[in-house]
């Protein structure tokens, strides 16, 4: 075990994957010699050569097109999109191509060996073009898997599993935690399961559900609520697609209440899918409406970032609204 921050954990996972399988290649804007603008790919070019870790020209649609082709050939493609806000030029390549490749060919061809890494989320004074959380845009796309880690340990294990999973995975990294989140991480290779939520803390009065950087907020809010005598069950969804309905539904049947939180705007955010599914599965168990504590239905603001964020206070208020319904 070693103490690592989230960036180091990502870097360690990439080194593991590249060491173990020489078909693994890492590419994107500035990921080569420079090691990426956040330095997640530091030293990869030095270790594995310029052919396996390289800069691409500045074109996200090109990166994803290239990645699709490379993965369909059988190579293991790990493409970086520098900020999740800049993934949209690649939307067609991801939604129409990546996600439908295996399906349209009847399984003859696939891009299952593709992983897309991208930093997402706010809290870094980045405004509307360096703070977005676009998971819901992709979650409406059958064929994709979407994974979001909450800390370094999760990051390494989930990234290795994503790279090796035989489906294309969009791996979203909470950039606010890149250096802020530090923890023990095994130096060895290990994987954590995709498609499985994790109960981070058991409780009996309400289920709190989130993913990625938002997990910190949930835990903080849960502490506040516990101080008021509300017992919270805190769940990290980890995989947005396919998502673990069973773990969530089982928890809600126990607690009778659910609060979901994400930074992305409320309308059409992934919390809506969860709420829609859980109100059906747990109709007779729900003691209050499912709460969504999310970003406002505006672009992500700069000067008003603090006000916009679904912070622990807003989550706490949501918890109290729910238990006092």
């Amino acid at each position: 075990m070693a103490k690592m921050n989230l960036l180091q954990a990502i870097n360690s996972a990439l080194i593991s994957a590249m060491t173990q399988d020489e078909r693994v290649m890492v590419f994107g804007e500035d990921v080569g010699h420079f090691g990426g603008v956040f330095r997640a790919t530091s030293n990869l070019q030095e270790k594995f050569g310029k052919a396996r870790c390289f800069n691409t020209p500045l074109t996200e649609q090109g990166i994803m097109g290239f990645a699709n082709g490379l993965a369909s050939q059988g190579s293991v493609a790990i493409a970086e999109i520098q900020f999740a806000d800049y993934i949209f030029p690649a939307f067609d390549q991801i939604v129409n191509e990546t996600a439908k490749w295996r399906y349209r060919s009847g399984g003859q061809f696939s891009v299952g060996t593709l992983t897309i890494r991208t930093p997402y989320g706010g809290g870094i004074a980045g405004g509307h073009y360096h703070s977005q959380s676009p998971e819901a845009y992709f979650a409406h796309t059958p064929g994709m898997k979407i994974v979001v880690p909450r800390n370094p340990y999760q990051a390494k294990g989930l990234l290795l599993a994503s790279i090796r999973d035989d489906n294309p995975v969009l791996f979203m990294e909470p950039k606010r935690l890149y250096r802020a989140s530090v923890g023990e991480v095994p130096e060895d290779d290990y994987e954590l399961p995709l498609g499985k939520a994790e109960i981070v803390k058991s409780g009996s009065d309400i289920t709190l559900l989130a993913w990625g950087a938002q997990m910190e907020i949930m835990e903080k809010a849960a502490e506040m609520a516990e101080a008021k005598g509300v017992s919270c069950e805190v769940i990290d969804l980890r995989s947005i697609l396919p998502w673990d309905v069973e773990t969530v539904a089982t928890s809600v049947m126990k607690t009778g209440r659910l609060l979901i939180s994400h930074e992305a705007p409320l309308t059409g955010g992934f919390a809506s899918e969860i709420a829609a599914t859980i109100q059906k599965h747990c109709f007779l168990y729900l003691e209050s409406p499912i709460e969504r504590v999310c970003g406002l239905d505006t672009p992500y603001p700069l000067a008003h970032e603090k006000e916009y964020m679904p912070d622990h206070l807003k989550v706490f208020e949501g918890i109290m609204r729910s238990v006092n319904f």
């Binding site: 090109g62 990645a67 369909s72 050939q73 191509e97 399906y103 060919s105 399984g107 299952g112 059958p142």
Partner: protein, 396 residues
């Protein structure tokens, strides 16, 4: 000349010098004249009788297939078709210059390349009837072929997407040490997509052994080339990417063959992309959903009918004595019968059973898809008459 991909010193001029498209002349390679004779100063590529006849017969077969399937669509037997009439030399000639190991990523009007690789009449029919014998499992509209064993990537409708994909595929071939290239076909219309720019630029920078083969057939549905671009065709763009480029007469199968052969040689030897622009004309309607009489003249069509690539090769073969023109009608009649027979046979083959509706979305169907399938099957069992294609085969 100056490479501006470094920051060294650079020649200067002291008066404004406008660079305009006139500065480069990009002529077109032609080996065989429209009448089937070979230009006296041309070097004929080495092509055996067997290969030349195979090229010819493949073109003829495609012509027959196109005619029959357009008719079948009119009769309502298939939902859609798209002919390559007039452009057979471009796809057949280029495919003939490749190795079977080379990956083909096509747009949709390259049935000639697929037939040349060995796709059978039955396979064509299975695909067009979206039936259960089709390896793509009937998931795609007619003409969206795909055949793993022939190294023919399944076709995707969104235009241009295959262009950067071909760069990536070729990069993978190079990394795997394969003696193979990727050929990527696209129309001059698709070349307007951003993916074209990304794909060619990346291939050049990342040294991908790919052949980008543009079929410039003058139209993108109703949009004529002059409303598609203002430069000197697509070939002139190669310059901007630093990609070696060849323009070729797309109706001269020998020129197409030779350009592609040369391109492949360069791509493999130098690990780099090559761009080919084949000048041709879409004699057919864009597809069975289209009627070109509204946007172009009979005259224009007639001028291109006169350049028919099949006729041209036929004349050459006949002059050479490699085919007997009398055989032609027999061959065509046999192929017509074959197509009709297969059509009749294949249209009775059922579509895939309902279980396949959730397959291949992921490597294995996740629980939520299994649940959705279960619900669907229960529903079909309840209303079998409403789902005649699948109801009789719904199992518990």
């Amino acid at each position: 000349m100056q490479h501006r991909n470094h920051l060294g010193d650079i020649n200067t001029v002291h008066q404004v010098k406008l660079i305009d498209k006139g500065v480069v002349d990009i002529p077109m390679l032609q080996i065989m004249q429209p009448d089937g004779s070979i230009h006296s100063d041309a070097t004929m590529p080495e092509i055996s009788q067997e290969l030349a006849v195979k090229m010819y017969r493949t073109m003829q077969f495609i012509r027959v297939l196109d005619e029959r399937m357009v008719a079948a669509q009119r009769q309502g037997r298939i939902s859609f078709y798209l002919a390559s009439t007039g452009e057979e030399a471009a796809s057949v000639g280029s495919a003939a210059a490749l190795s079977d190991k080379d990956m083909i990523m096509s747009q949709y009007r390259e049935q000639g390349a697929l037939a040349f690789r060995g796709y059978t009449t039955e396979q064509f029919m299975n695909q067009m009837f979206s039936n259960e014998k089709e390896p793509n499992k009937g998931r795609q509209m007619p003409i969206h072929y795909g055949a793993k064993e022939l190294n023919f990537m399944t076709i995707s409708s969104p235009l241009g997407t295959q262009i950067p994909q071909a760069s990536g595929y070729a990069y993978g071939q190079k990394m795997a040490g394969e003696e193979a290239v990727t050929i990527c076909y696209f129309g001059e219309g698709a070349a307007s997509e951003g993916d074209f720019h990304a794909g060619l630029n990346m291939a050049a920078v990342l040294n991908c052994p790919a052949i980008f083969f543009c079929r410039n057939n003058g139209y993108a549905i109703s949009t004529p080339a002059e409303e598609q671009f203002a430069g000197d065709g697509i070939a002139s763009r190669g310059l901007g990417y630093g990609i070696k480029t060849i323009r070729v007469d797309g109706n001269d199968i020998f020129a197409v063959f030779e350009a592609t052969r040369k391109a492949r040689e360069i791509a493999l030897a130098e690990n780099c992309p090559v761009l080919i622009e084949a000048m041709s004309y879409r004699l057919a309607a864009h597809s069975t959903s289209d009627d070109p009489t509204g946007y172009r003249s009979k005259d224009e069509e007639a001028r291109w009918h006169a350049k028919d690539p099949i006729q041209r090769l036929g004349n050459w073969l006949a002059a050479k004595g490699w085919i007997d023109p009398a055989e032609d009608e027999k061959y065509l009649a046999a192929k017509r019968a074959e197509v009709l027979d297969e059509l009749k046979r294949v249209e009775k083959v059922p579509v895939c059973s309902i279980e396949h509706i959730i397959e291949d979305v992921y490597d294995t169907p996740p629980w939520h898809l299994q649940e959705q399938l279960q619900e669907l099957k229960d529903h079909i069992r309840k209303y079998p008459d409403a789902y005649p294609k699948t109801a009789s085969r719904v199992k518990e």
